[in-house]
Symmetry: C2
């Protein structure tokens, strides 16, 4: 079974079980809309890939950890799309939750998904209390204060914010939680797997900045040009487009290089390369490289 | 030390520790505004009172449980006050969080407080993993799907909602979590303490409905007449004002009667009576009783 298939099956099963019986139907529908809308499932797949590399001796726990990470991610998207932030009518090409269900239910759907993430973990982790506590702590660090994705989003509300700090929190934190969760759910320590999450998370955020400049709404599934419009910190603004693309390629290389020696190293590297291509197609990177060569910024022999 | 003093000290200590170093300053300030604004601290005091009745042999755990309950309550107030729901400019007589810090930070402050509640528990519970897991499960049930306060708030978005179901979820769920948390943090089973939370929670919601009709903004700390304005389910609408007051008194009596036999029974009953007077002053209840007697609805010998 592919990691994506495993993720989707786990999401469906855990969502239904954790929602329980008798919840308000529209709230549950809004939460389903947020979760089951064709997301790439990068974070849960990353978690499961690392779990596989670490032996995955408690797959029910790694499944739950993967699901919890995705639920947190979806919660953040629901709230970020609301008029108070991006005011985005679309997400993944479909109406955003507040467009489909209204602002009150979007607000509550986000809250409900955060709590559901914990519920999923608690239901699955009873047989492994020590791992469960480590996983809950890891998840909480990825989302909350001081450096989780909620803090990352809040840096947009400050008058001054360091771009690196903003990006590490806004996107990187949950990527780090994802790689670490894979290790922790298999009873391994997380430290060796944190750099993969860090580099990949930063690459992901830089890619988002790049696509916000070059992309169109169809490929993004949301409006382009939002960073400049909303005056948000952006790698493309700071480094220029070609500089941001070069930075992205470096981060992908660092992510690949950081993968610890293990039987699954090739599988993980393939996953990183697949993500890289999906985020910023190689043709875009080649175009930027050619422009840098024309400007004399790099020697033409440099091959990635 | 009074339960209120113990609550305030625990809140301050746990908030600072769980926020950590380096969070976005405005987000942290918005969260502080939400938490340290003169709340009555009913839920944490209830938790600590039951913990005391159950021996309170792990006070660091009952403190954390009490704090987590209050953080969840504050999170729900922040989000409920936002324009998508009550659009309340005031809370406890001060500007609501979105009025003081803007909608984006109010949205994130609520999210941050939910996650902080878990963080507080996780930091305090490492030495008692079994109790911690039970407490986290109990907290999650009080907040999330299917019957927690997030679900309760969402019933306002449905076209049809059972008043009892709405009230049990919107307010009762976190009261039940509060009494149960006191028992669980002391290693006792929670079942015997759930009815106290149930009755008190329903009384609290009915009192809120009553005060929405009779109150003024000064004593409520928020605008009156919101239920009728927003067409929300309300005991005062369904039962009439005097009927709602009678219902409130019955619930307070049931709450008192439900307290299990223990050395702290008198202390707990005094706490219930103190809350009762704070919620709906005895003079208001007496006035309603006199009107019922005048209408021949009750015999004049009935004394509470």
């Amino acid at each position: 079974m592919s990691l994506l298939t495993r993720t989707e099956q786990a999401l469906r099963a855990h969502f239904d079980a954790a929602a329980g019986m008798g919840a308000p139907p529209l709230l549950q529908a809004a939460m389903e809309h947020a979760v089951f809308s064709g997301g790439a499932r990068v974070r849960p797949q990353l978690c499961l890939a690392v779990a596989t590399a670490c032996g995955d001796d408690a797959p029910e726990l790694s499944d739950a950890a993967a699901v919890a990470l995705e639920l947190m991610h979806c919660a953040s998207l629901v709230h970020d799309d609301m008029p108070a932030f991006d005011n985005a009518p679309l997400r993944r090409g479909r109406p955003s939750v507040h467009k489909a269900y209204g602002e009150p239910l979007a607000l509550l759907a986000g809250d409900g998904l955060i709590v559901m993430a914990y519920r999923v973990m608690l239901r699955a982790g009873q047989r492994h209390p020590q791992r469960l506590m480590a996983l809950l702590d890891n998840l909480t660090q990825g989302v909350g204060l001081p450096h989780g994705i909620v803090a990352g989003q809040a840096w947009e509300c400050e008058t001054t914010a360091d771009l690196g700090q903003y990006q590490r929190a806004k996107t990187g934190a949950l990527f780090v939680s994802s790689t670490c969760a894979g290790a922790l759910s298999s009873g391994e320590s997380a430290g060796a797997w944190a750099p993969l999450g860090t580099f990949l998370g930063e690459a992901y955020q830089v890619a988002d900045d790049i696509r916000d400049v070059i992309g169109d709404a169809a490929s993004l599934g949301k409006p382009a040009g939002q960073d400049a419009l909303l005056a948000r910190p952006s790698a493309a603004q700071v480094l220029g487009l070609d500089g941001a693309i070069q930075h992205f390629e470096n981060l992908i290389d660092q992510a690949s290089d950081s993968i610890p020696a293990c039987a699954s190293r090739d599988m993980l590297r393939a996953l990183v390369q697949h993500e890289s291509e999906r985020l910023v197609p190689k043709a875009v990177c080649e175009g930027a490289r050619l422009r840098r060569i024309q400007r004399g910024a790099v020697a033409p022999v440099t091959v990635r």
